[in-house]
Amino acid sequence: MQSEGLQSIDQAQTVNKELYEFKNKRVSIMNKLMPVVLFLCASVSVLTTIGIVFTLITETYQFFKQIPILDFLFGTKWSPLIPPKSFGVLPLLSGTLMITFIACLVAIPLGLASAIYLSEYAPKRVRKIIKPILEVLAGVPTIVYGYFALSLVTPLIQSLFDSAGVFNALSAGIVVGIMIIPMVSSLSEDAMSAVPRSLRDGAYALGATRFEVALKIVVPAAFSGIVASAVLAFSRAIGETMIVTVAAGSTPNMTVNPLDSIQTMTAYIVQVSLGDTPHGSIEYGSIFAVGMTLFVITFLLNILAQYIARKFREEY
């Protein structure tokens, strides 16, 4: 009896091992390979950034070996192509800042107002229609905005101000402003919609009007997001190229008159890149120095945006 029992256990032990073959080489290689592939994909953008910064730095360094950095940073005459050559970046910087300033003057009030409308006033149906339209505005190619500036806004400005030239900073600045409205309004609206309903209710219950609730409760509570959107829009305006190339002209000009033709840093880079400037020449090097300046400014602005967003965050 006992031996029979043992025998049956023995029989049970002869399992069909083929059924329990867990190793699958193909799958295990895939599992090991996948993270590597994904990592490589992710590193493309990181490596590109490093490459760009590296090129900028080395070329800029070469440039500054010929032109003293102080002459570049504080010089008030930019004449890289026509002798006597002069490489003072301030005219380009002032041109860029004027465009950016005008653009922000247009975009921040309008963008904020539309964000307040969308988040506090607009019925659901209206918001569903307007928000996508605003986002389409953000997708219009900037060259189209450039033509819009040149063919519509500039004639309008010229009919108002006789002294305005065909190329002027005002026209380009306004259109850059229009271009960045969606950025301000969309990001601000997101921040404002995130303010909890209970805060609004609390203010309404005290007898606040809709406008007071928007201005004194929602905007302060969403302030960090609003400031971040404004700074992002600012750095977007600084870097804008096509509109200013088409509509603002190519006259490096230390002026505060927005009706004058100016040149921005980006427009200068376009001008030199498109021309037949020989590789390695000093003019060629100058676009890297200007590019580096632009890069440092936008980089600092982005850090500033993050700092402000953190500093002014109101907890709720």
């Binding site: 805060l199 209710d201 609390g202 219950a205 005290l206 007898g207 606040a208 409760i217």
Partner: protein, 251 residues
């Protein structure tokens, strides 16, 4: 006790949903009236019609009348902001603004045009004293309101409501998010406030209604089933459904 609020055949619809059905009710002045009933019975909805907070909800439609001190509050001539100033509200979740304790209380007065620092200081102090919070916060009025405990935050919200000098105070389950000790403090506060203010409170806790209110209204499915002096309603209800509810047979 004279009737201050007269609600007459009030019907309220959220879209197609009939939330309040033929509600007729009077609420006495300078007393505490409690609305009780199971969830979804319409008690909060009725409370929110008293300061027209339901106006915010799209698709709300109202028929019938609510008069406060003889004025129809849903008439076109009524200024909603002035009404809300006179009919303060405290919510279920404490909802202080992301500002300092001082600025929370001063928010309403500033909104209504008071700018003098001295006047604001006075209002802040009296409001915080009325809400029995002054002693706890007087030394750090500039600190964020979020540093306070839940019960303190709720008393701050009461102080904030009192600061605009209302006549009526609505409390929408104002203690349901609080611990028992904080709840007790708010209940004691309500008792003190009723000498000066008319208080209407919604509570899902019928023991609370029994403890603090003078008049109790029992709601069921959007209808007022019964209302009377609290003592009478709890000891000798006339409607079988009221008796079933207060004895815990449902809800």
């Amino acid at each position: 006790m004279e009737a201050l609020i007269n609600i007459n055949k009030l019907n309220l619809f959220y879209g197609a949903f009939h939330a309040l059905k033929d509600v007729t009710l009077t609420i006495p002045e300078k007393a505490i009236t409690a609305f009780i009933g199971p969830s979804g019975c319409g008690k909060s909805t009725l409370l929110r019609t008293l300061n027209r907070m339901n106006d915010m909800i799209p698709g709300t439609r109202i028929e019938g009348g609510i008069a406060i001190g003889g004025t129809e509050i849903y008439s076109n001539e009524v200024d909603v902001e002035t009404l809300r100033k006179k009919v303060g509200m405290v919510f279920q979740q404490p909802n202080p603004f992301p500002k300092s304790i001082y600025d929370n209380v001063a928010y309403g007065p500033r909104l209504h045009g008071i700018t003098s620092k001295k006047e604001l200081d006075e209002i802040v102090e009296t409001s915080l004293k009325s809400a029995v919070l002054w002693d706890e916060v007087k030394d750090h009025l500039k600190r964020s309101a979020f540093g306070l405990s839940g019960g303190q935050q709720q008393r701050l919200c009461i102080a904030r409501a009192l600061a605009v000098n209302p006549n009526i105070l609505l409390m929408d389950e104002a203690t349901s998010a609080l611990d028992p000790i904080s709840t007790l403090k708010i209940e004691e506060l309500a008792q003190e406030l009723k000498d000066k203010y008319t208080i209407v409170m919604v509570t899902h806790n019928m023991h609370q209604a029994a403890r603090v209110s003078n008049q109790t209204v029992f709601f069921l499915n959007g209808e007022v089933i019964e209302y009377s002096d609290t003592e009478k309603l709890f000891s000798n209800p006339t409607d079988q459904r009221t008796e079933d509810y207060i004895s815990g047979r449902f809800g």
